[in-house]
Amino acid sequence: MISFVVFSLRRAWQGFWRNAVMSLAATATMVFMLLLLSGFFVVLTGLNAGLEFVEQKVEIVADVKDGAPTLAIEAVQARVAAMPEVASVEYVNATEALRRFQERLKQQGREDLTTALDKNPLPGSLQVKLKDPKVFGNVVESLRADPSIERVQEVKNLIDRVLTVTNLLRTGGVLVLALVGIVVLFIIVNTIRLAVVARAEEIEIMRLVGASDAFIRWPFIFEGALVGLIGAAITLGLLALGAEPLGRVMTGFFEVLPLQLGALGRDLTIIVVATGVGLGVLGSWVSVRSYLLK
């Protein structure tokens, strides 16, 4: 058993280097494909994070009636917070609302018109965050029925619209990723088949002298895994080289997004290595199969 593994590994290694041009071509294809896949994965993760961020921002805003007693407001707040659909309820009083508005204006570098005001035009409001932005329950109706609430902003439509888009983008992203995956599979299989075809004679001789299928198959599978492994290593190297300068530029603009680069890196490493090796093995398997079936 051990000697079989050693034999297969040794032959895989020899096979890789004997037909170096072909092997390197396969590896290069693998690298290109893995880079592509990584790119898609990063973009998709970024998109997802962005979408989640947008979804989190979606909340129900209930303006409180001018002069409603604090006790009544607190009662509403507690009641709504107890509803199963609700994640949190924050009370923003009129003063705080104006402060936030001013801050936002300043952040955006816009004219602060509120300094010209003699009284605060903003009402206090209850800001409700939902656990799942898709599940409203009867939060809106319940708020609307309360006497201390002036009006509930019609955010449902907006939420629906945002959710439609985010879902669409997400589905689209996964679809594209799946498509790219299929292409990668197809192409890697073809490339490795090219390498196997070049060794048809060797396979024929092996069959004639009575080599079992395992002895014929596994060296090729290890060779495919080798192609995948080397390809993955090169890809990760290139990604590491490219990540730093790219990241520096990106963070300036996307720091608003809660992207955890560490976790992304780990996920990406796993994905690249698993995909590379998986594709290499699968490609070899499929390519050798047609010879063994004869």
Binding site: S3, E201, E204, I205, V209, G210, S212, I216
Partner: protein, 258 residues
């Protein structure tokens, strides 16, 4: 010859009229038994019809016949490269038609196969080409070296062990192929026109080698067009024509002698 009675039995079996019920017991002592074998290729070509053949252990058989008679097809059935359409091909007691696919490699190791075009790997030396047959069948590496040396000595290639096939004469290449076929001690050597690419002198050399191997107890079945050799050696001759065995004689010539 201790094999004579067996061979007589074999012959009587062969002379059984075609079409009888299949014998239940394979002929004792026979390495190879073909019983009522027919082979039709997928495209409809019928290459063999009702072939009965018994090859006792230690026999030396020439398979002759015009082009297209079915010699190569017969050999492909024996090495289980093709499967008989009907009938049984029994090698060393195992019916190749009923063999599970994963059993095939084991059966192949019982025979050594030689072709007209040598089928050597051009990037491996003589030694590596022979060792290859053992490596890929899972022989422990410490056994490989001695076995290869022994068989290279047998075919007389010890001096050329480190050369690549491209630097060898045709005869030396064929001897390398024979060494490879012999290296895991097969019970039978199957050769399909082994001298087809060789000049007369080297052809004789190869035949001498096969005869010596046969004397060591290995059964030899050889398809050939080389009338001179077949006639000179006076061995058993099985003649095919149109997929049928039309002649099966001991100590015979290439052509019918009546």
């Amino acid at each position: 010859m201790t094999l004579a009675p067996l061979r007589a039995a074999a012959r009587s079996h062969r002379q059984r009229p075609v079409g009888l019920a299949p014998t239940e017991s394979p002929v004792d002592g026979a390495v190879l038994v073909l019983h009522d074998v027919t082979k039709a290729y997928p495209n409809g070509n019928v290459a063999l019809r009702d072939v009965d053949l018994v090859v006792p252990e230690g026999d030396f058989v020439f398979l002759v016949g015009p082009s297209g008679a079915g010699k190569s097809t017969l050999i492909k059935l024996i090495i289980r490269d093709e499967i008989a359409t009907t009938g049984a091909v029994i090698l060393d007691g195992q019916d190749l038609a009923r063999l599970a696919r994963r059993q095939v490699p084991k059966v192949r190791r019982k025979i050594g196969i030689i072709f007209q075009d040598f089928k050597l790997l051009p990037t491996k030396t003589v030694r590596e080409n022979v060792a290859f047959a053992l490596e890929v069948t899972g022989t422990p590496s410490r056994e490989i070296g001695p076995a290869v040396d022994r068989v290279l000595a047998l075919v007389g290639l010890t001096a050329q062990a480190r050369q690549l096939p491209g630097t060898l004469s045709g005869g030396e290449q064929q001897r390398t192929a024979i060494a490879r076929a012999l290296v895991h001690d097969p019970r039978m050597i199957i050769a399909d026109e082994p001298t087809g690419n060789l000049d007369p002198l080297i052809s004789w050399e190869i035949l001498q080698l096969l005869l010596r191997i046969n004397e060591l107890g290995v059964t030899v079945l050889m398809a050939t067009h080389n009338a001179e050799i077949v006639t000179a050696l006076r061995k058993r001759v099985v003649a095919l024509e149109d997929g049928r065995i039309i002649r099966d004689e001991e100590a015979a010539a290439y052509h019918r002698e009546d």
